[in-house]
Amino acid sequence: MNLLHPLLGGVLIGAGAALLLWRNGQVAGISGITASVIRGEPGDTGWRLAFLAGLLAPAAIVGLDPSLPGDNLAVLVLSGLLVGIGTRIGSGCTSGHGVCGISSLSPRSIVATLIFMATAMLTVAVVRHGMQP
């Protein structure tokens, strides 16, 4: 198993979030940034769009595999809906709570991350293994 790429990838993620926090005083929470942009919150849309453009650029340059596992549109729509609703009610996602919040030792983020990780693991267990015991 190649562990160097996951580790280096993590270092880059941390560096990006650190730069945004240090220079701009902003948290690199992608669900929060996205929600603010689509609501058209006045004022700070510029840096958010710049961050999102940067986020998408490496993927656009390298080119990702367009086929997703299962590729079941109904499941993807349900998943997207739950991700959208959950990250708003819970005020964050993998980046905001899981990386930025934990890095600042926020009790809220630590609790949120433990809960969404456990729930996601349980969901995978049920979907992959629950049906054929």
Binding site: T34, I38, L82, I89, I115
Partner: protein, 141 residues
């Protein structure tokens, strides 16, 4: 400068998600599949990210290095309430179904594939709908 910094921060973040395998839902589902053929690689991603960000986060909160932006980093941990926990459960369900969280979801749009658009469109509907129906606290992140 704020825009350029945000762009570079996004580039680093996006390159990291790409290199780590977070944009590949199969790898994410393998990480979440603790009861099956578990792939722990993303543990290293999280550890790497936190190892870099935590010291910077500490210094910024302590005011040792200055945050240049208009909005001070939200260092005030609010209470752990029901909304936080319910939201995390709903997000975990959605993440576990597809292996896609918001950042990788947006990055998958670059494939111009219908699957990515279906996910992101539904995510945006979910976000907007939640804002309309419920009073939502500002994001922690």
């Amino acid at each position: 400068m704020t825009l350029l910094t945000a762009l570079v921060a996004g580039l680093l973040f996006g390159a990291g998600l790409l290199l780590s395998g977070m944009v590949n839902p199969a790898i994410v589902l393998g990480f979440l599949d603790v009861g099956g053929d578990w792939n722990p690689a993303l543990v290293f991603t999280m550890a790497g990210a936190i190892a870099v960000l935590a010291p910077v986060s500490y210094l910024v909160r302590r005011g040792r290095i200055t945050a240049a932006g208009p909005c001070a980093p939200a260092a005030t941990p609010r209470r752990i309430d029901r909304a936080l926990m319910i939201g995390a459960v709903i997000f975990g369900l959605g993440w576990g179904l597809s292996g896609i969280c918001p950042g990788p979801g947006l990055m998958l749009l670059t494939t111009l594939g219908p699957a990515a658009f279906a996910f992101v469109a539904a995510m945006i509907v979910g976000m907007l709908g939640t804002n309309i129906v419920a009073r939502v606290d500002g994001p922690d992140g």
